[in-house]
Amino acid sequence: MADQVILLDFWPSPFGMRLRIALAEKGIEFEYREEDLRNKSPLLLQMNPIHKKIPVLVHNGKPICESLIAVQYIDEVWNHKSPLLPSDPYQRSQARFWADYVDKKIYDAGRNIWTKKGEEQEAAKKEFIDALKLLEQELGDKTYFGGDKLGFVDVALIPFYTWFKGYETFGNFIVEKECPKFIAWAKRCMQIESVSKSLPDQEKVYEFIVDIRKKIGIE
């Protein structure tokens, strides 16, 4: 019996992008379903009744919610190729730690950069840059966080790169000036097919941000 895999997603979501990359890395065929967040589908509400959020992975009718949990699930079920998590338990715990760090820091700081002004925005910029610098340190001399191939932390982090034009424009800074190693890492990731084919253009995401800012009345 063939696997049925559906991804309920929203194209600019960095969390959804994580799953697109993971599925592509594993060569899994899946049906991508775009959700309208102002008019969520009955399937989404049924599959994620608690948070009502995307992304949701639906595998043979059963839902898996929360992006990092779903990426781990994908890694465990389709373990025949491209392992995303290391096999050593200590290395695994470190990968989970840094993915958790990305979750705690990057999204909120990034969001505050394009939604806030003045002091709040400056504070967000500092937090964001500090987080990237720490991640640069963790990366060290490795090609990817996963070593010589894409790993769990790379998958967790690279989607936010698609939002950089937005952060840089509204925050009035250039990430490459502050964190050149980070940008070098991001560009290496974008060379990987499963990454580049899964992620939207920075330009497209930037237009999306311009649009929401208008809608929520930020000027």
Binding site: I50, H59, K62, I64, C65, E66, I69, A70, Q72, Y73, E76, V77, P89, Y90, R92, S93, R96, F97, D100, Y101, L134
Partner: protein, 222 residues
């Protein structure tokens, strides 16, 4: 022999998760009590990113974040497994662990809330969480999340609820109401009386008194 050390706070729900895990698996360890007002240089060296407890040190290698530590312990010491084997069941367990994680700061917010409105909001937030768990986590036969044995979800929620009942005593408001949350209430009673758990939960009166004193300290300094 492998060396295991735990840096933690005896009164913290996060440290408690690691303690219960080590005890359930019968893993000997050295407990290092940290002082939140005077953290040891070792702790700051082991957890430079967050500077928090708990930190587990195994063979000199540090691990941070309570549930990440719990999963690590489960992978290294297979006796008394805390996570299911099936990937889908594991994903569900991890989902509820994350949900329990989100509850603890909500309880903390209640503890530090000032004014009636803030307190009401905090209580409502916690109620929402409890309602979801009450509705979604209990089958008809199960006493605890894991079925017959304690699992990672029990540990995650057990520590959160333990923290909640401590705060209930301090602010003198009953939140985990037996009538509103019959499954949760009876589950927690089973959990806290279970062997190993029972001997390793911090003493209720002691922890209430201590957290109260922490609150007073923070009010004095503000």
């Amino acid at each position: 022999m492998a060396q295991v050390k735990l840096h933690g706070f005896w009164y913290s729900p996060f440290t408690l998760r690691v303690v219960l895990t080590l005890k359930l698996k019968g893993i000997p360890y050295e407990n290092i009590e940290e002082d939140r007002f005077n953290k040891s240089p070792q702790l700051l060296e082991y957890n430079p990113v967050h500077k928090k407890t708990p930190v587990l040190v195994h063979d000199g290698k540090p691990l941070c974040e309570s549930m990440i530590i719990v999963e690590y312990i489960d992978e290294k010491w297979p006796q008394y497994p805390l996570l299911p084997v099936d990937p889908y069941e594991r994903a569900q367990a991890r989902f509820w662990v994350k949900y329990a994680d989100e509850m603890i700061p909500a309880v903390g917010a209640l503890f530090s809330s000032s004014g009636v409105e803030e307190r009401e909001n905090s209580i409502n937030k916690i109620w929402e969480h409890l309602k979801v768990v009450e509705q979604h986590c209990f089958g008809y036969e199960k006493n605890i999340f894991g079925g017959n044995t304690i699992n990672i979800v029990d540990i995650a929620f057990g520590s959160a609820i333990k923290f909640l009942i401590t705060i209930e005593d301090i602010i003198e408001v009953k939140i985990l109401d037996a009538e509103k949350f019959p499954h949760l209430h009876s589950w927690f009673n089973n959990f806290k009386d279970a062997p190993v758990i029972n001997e390793n939960l911090p003493d209720h009166q002691k922890v209430v008194a201590f957290i109260k004193s922490l609150l007073q300290k923070s009010l004095q300094s503000s």
